[in-house]
Symmetry: C2
Subunit: 349 residues, 2 copies
């Protein structure tokens, strides 16, 4: 169908232009910049059709047209050609993973910063450990002060949880080490969800001065089994204020306040299914505050069982193609790096 083909082209041109300029686009613009074979009158007719079909909105009678969310959906699903990044940009991404410091939240933060600076959108990075991968592996009590110890719980997948617990009395560091060894041996392979119960059980047979510690362990284990989300980092918040859609301070504020609410962020980043890449447009994001934002997100398995979800948050008028390209490249680099380390290779810094 020739006509439909043309309508698509025109719609695409409108979306492209609007993404670029944030200004309602008129028939004349399209005729001049994109479809020089056609007069503005023809474009006008087509645009009128497209509006009727629900792909375009007009803010008012004489202001050109703006793509609807339905249009963006079509754009993302059908019109996007995969695009590559320049080799400079690829290098820039790779460089995030280069440094040796593996401070725990550090990598996420670096990814967030890099993506924000490349795209001008806000980036959120969430690290999650699926329940099924939460199997106890090691436990270590490290004395911190006379009455407090740091409890480290490591799962088979390599996730680490640390917390400070009160000892409830003087316990020598030797004792702490011994207890750590024994418990680690006894509990190896225990699902995290069972851990609390097991601790409680063991507590029964423990000597008096250990009772308190065991109870504390039990409580912490319960906490540990709860929090799937181990790290959540947001970067490039101030970028959003560059976009004309947030010239209204109230809009900006309501959006920024979402970034400050952990639960909401987790919701935003948790895609329904198991899809690697997800694009959610406007109301599809699920939050009132983000009803005119879009979120492009990608999830990557980290090899050790953890799942890293990276989301780019911007106005619905988003550079979807670029966002996806950047995320794809991050994913590619990430798996490269994991492969390298998994195969035991290591370079000098």
């Amino acid at each position: 169908m020739d006509l439909i083909e043309r309508k698509y082209r025109i719609l695409q041109a409108i979306i492209d232009d609007y993404i670029l300029t944030a200004l309602p686009v008129g028939s004349r613009t399209i005729s001049r910049k994109y479809e020089q074979k056609l007069s503005s009158a023809t474009i006008r007719n087509e645009m009128s059709d497209l509006e009727e079909l629900g792909y375009l909105d007009s803010p008012h009678t004489s202001a050109g047209r703006v793509p609807s969310n339905k249009a963006y959906r079509l754009y993302v699903d059908q019109m996007l050609r995969p695009m590559a990044l320049s080799s400079e940009e690829q290098a820039f991404i790779r460089q995030c993973f280069d440094r040796r410091t593996h401070q725990v939240e550090d990598l996420s933060l670096r990814i967030a910063k890099a993506l924000s600076s490349m795209t001008n959108y806000t980036t959120a990075v969430m690290t999650r450990t699926p329940k099924s991968d939460q199997v106890f592996s090691h436990l270590q009590l490290v004395p911190v002060t006379s009455h407090r110890a740091l409890l480290i719980i490591v799962t088979r997948s390599g996730a680490v949880r640390q917390s400070l617990i009160e000892l409830g009395g003087m316990i020598s560091s030797d004792e702490l080490y011994t207890v750590s060894r024994i418990l680690t041996a006894q509990l190896d392979g225990c699902p995290l969800s069972d851990l609390s119960r097991r601790f409680a059980a063991i507590a029964g047979g423990a000597p008096g001065d250990m009772q308190h510690v065991m109870r504390a362990l039990s409580m912490e284990a319960q906490q540990a089994s709860k929090d799937e989300v181990s790290a959540l980092v947001v970067g490039g918040r101030s970028n959003l204020l560059r976009f004309p859609e947030y010239a209204d301070v109230d809009k900006a504020r309501s959006l920024l306040s979402v970034f400050e609410t952990r639960d909401k962020m987790v919701d935003l980043l948790s895609t329904g299914g198991e899809m690697e890449f997800t694009v959610r447009i406007g109301p599809e994001t699920g939050l009132e505050e983000t009803r005119d934002c879009s979120i492009v997100s990608a999830s990557f398995r980290l090899g050790d069982g953890r799942v890293n979800t990276i989301g780019l948050i911007g106005p619905t008028r988003m550079q979807y193609g670029r966002a996806l390209a950047v995320l794809t490249q991050v994913g590619r680099t990430l798996t490269d790096v994991i492969d390298e380390t998994e195969s035991g290779r290591d370079s000098e810094a």
Copy 2:
């Protein structure tokens, strides 16, 4: 001097009113709301004097007057009466410290949230360990995967640093434990600044498969001695957008971007001397982006050697009295809690 006394009263009234309304205040307002004995003409003369003395600015001829930074300085230094918080508010603060979870960054985050919600300013909480307190106490290598281990370094003061290191080859978890024990015994009391050197020295005599680990330890130790600042948390960013002074999106953006730059935040929170409470007004903050912000900050010793600095960031037209009151209360509650735990008391949750 009676006259000077009156000038002070008027200046104070102007500042109070401006803090409340953010609107340039005119002679009539003062005469009606604050100094009913005096006519607006008299106030006008006084205000004219105050302007000449540098305490007031006038945005333009007919717009009332606005306190200068010099005025705020005087206000903070001389005019502030200590004010108390309501018992509800005191309870609200106490509640932050109540929960048992001592997840490491958790408390800072809770403090930041609470203070932001109480004051509507942005809150930053920084935890620092002074160099002099950085003395090695314990070290623990916890196996995470076959090729990686979690390195935990604890200082005498109870500060904890963790990082993932590559092992460079298979090392059994028993070996890791043994090494941890030996190193901990050998290095007890060593200043953190020496640690890297000591590791390097020990590496010389270590067996082949440990060489790599020792080198990694040495590098991490070097890192550890560098970063005084162990945690930095910011809350309530979006609050600032409520204030009319940030109705201009560009101003808001430049300020928000400061919050995203760790180094700048550390600078902002690092007070010159050893003062417990600090108020910095406008340019005194030291950053171009915060030239019309003020920062009220307080530092508290955490007992274990760490120092917690809490800063409230708002427009120069800040409720200084309230800010100080809230911080004071947090400090009081903090030391209470520390005393309780130090004395070994512990309550059931």
